[in-house]
Symmetry: C3
């Protein structure tokens, strides 16, 4: 079962051919191909901008709508590609998780606070910037500051229940910058 | 020591020139270049498809063979590029780790279960979908749902001992979708 | 507010137009665009090489200077793009975190050693390669072996306080290979 790879040096218009799945059953054992987008290219495109997310209180926040509002018009230009998000900070993080029940975000914040000691019992040497600073750095590396999401038919191709979270690990809310880079055809 | 970057608007055939390392010693102190692929391009290509991994029991599973079986033919079209894997779920994860001893995968599952409380002692608010659901969300953000692997000479350029793992964090096995995007020359 | 996406099939010289921000205020509530690089493309470029980082002792190390020394000349050829780093090992990790105070790196190592049991009290089955081996695998999946950083105006576009860390999780220092892939215009 083969994807169609297309050299883009030929300046034809982009087109997207979606073939019906030849493996309708994706359950019950063998690995199955669920859908086979085949893509003929017109030329690769790049776009990049820095967006600023407003200050958010400590905790996990669903920011998909904010991000899509900023880049949605650009996304619509891409039939197939990748969207890269890069948070330019070391005391917050980006992750993808459940987009519906805010309890999931609260529980994740509870987990992070349980797993990373804070305050007088914590063993940190780096304390000059406050008791929440060193834990924030650790949480930032646990979840990471960078995400890559596929683009399909002009939209972020995430699962039904997936959303982009900004996790703010500092007590004092700060605006956070995200460099968004789009690449595709 | 310089990589050769090649505009791809010239529709020449791809070629890959591998020069011998000029720094044969990669040990003992200074940063050394181990190999220097220099790549002349014929034109960038994009390919994307969604593959479905069969239901797997809770735990960590080596899925490199399954994935390569699905995308290997497409991979072979790329001399140089990147392969992006995106798991469309929030209760499983993708990670790269040891590909040989299944004990490593078992021990990693043990670790995850130790670090993320589950059951009556757990502090979670989000419990409607069962005791394993909230822990699954947390583990998904710890390991992540997205991977990017370099492509070199038509193959995933992982280290000798590296493999792609699907970590299933739910008790009830479910088929899992992975959007694979290939980009390169 | 729109990014300019540019088909690269037209073989014109790259150019970068930076417009002044039309949303000077990035605080106080609404999502704001901080800067809007608009990019006109001349043609996409790919470059890839494997660099070897020298053996480093167990712990977290700032390696931005070492990496930029290896790829800086190549980076300068890209106005806009992405730099991918891929560590070919399963007992070390790459992460982005604070680039100034070495205490942050020491504290992060302390955290990792606290969170992942090692020695006689540890529940691991995989012990053949020494007591530090299984913990090293787990830490590798916690922080990950792959990073993607935006390139803007010929440089890695990280935040002021961000740096690239190599975290060595084994007791015995080993040279570590990183496959670097650059893609952009």
């Amino acid at each position: 079962m083969q994807m169609q790879c297309c050299p883009v040096s030929v300046p034809v218009k982009c087109c997207l051919v979606r073939t019906p799945s030849s493996s309708p059953s994706s359950r019950g054992g063998g690995t199955a191909v669920d859908s086979i987008p085949m893509i003929a290219a017109g030329g690769p495109k790049w776009a990049q901008k820095t967006i600023t997310l407003p200050p958010l209180k400590r905790g996990c926040h669903l920011v998909t709508p904010k991000i899509v509002k900023e880049i949605g018009e650009d996304l619509s230009e891409f039939n197939c590609g990748l969207a890269h998000l890069f948070l330019q900070h070391t005391s917050a993080s980006l992750t993808i998780n459940e987009n519906y029940d805010s309890d999931v975000r609260d529980d994740t914040e509870t987990f992070l606070n349980t797993i990373v000691p804070e305050g007088t019992s914590a063993p940190w040497k780096h304390t000059l910037e406050g008791p929440d600073d060193m834990p924030a750095h650790i949480k930032s590396s646990m979840f990471g500051c960078t995400l890559m999401v596929p683009i399909t038919n002009g939209k972020l191709n995430m699962g039904t229940w997936q959303g982009i979270w900004l996790c703010e690990h500092r007590d004092y809310p700060t605006a956070r910058k995200v460099v968004v880079t789009l690449n595709g055809i």
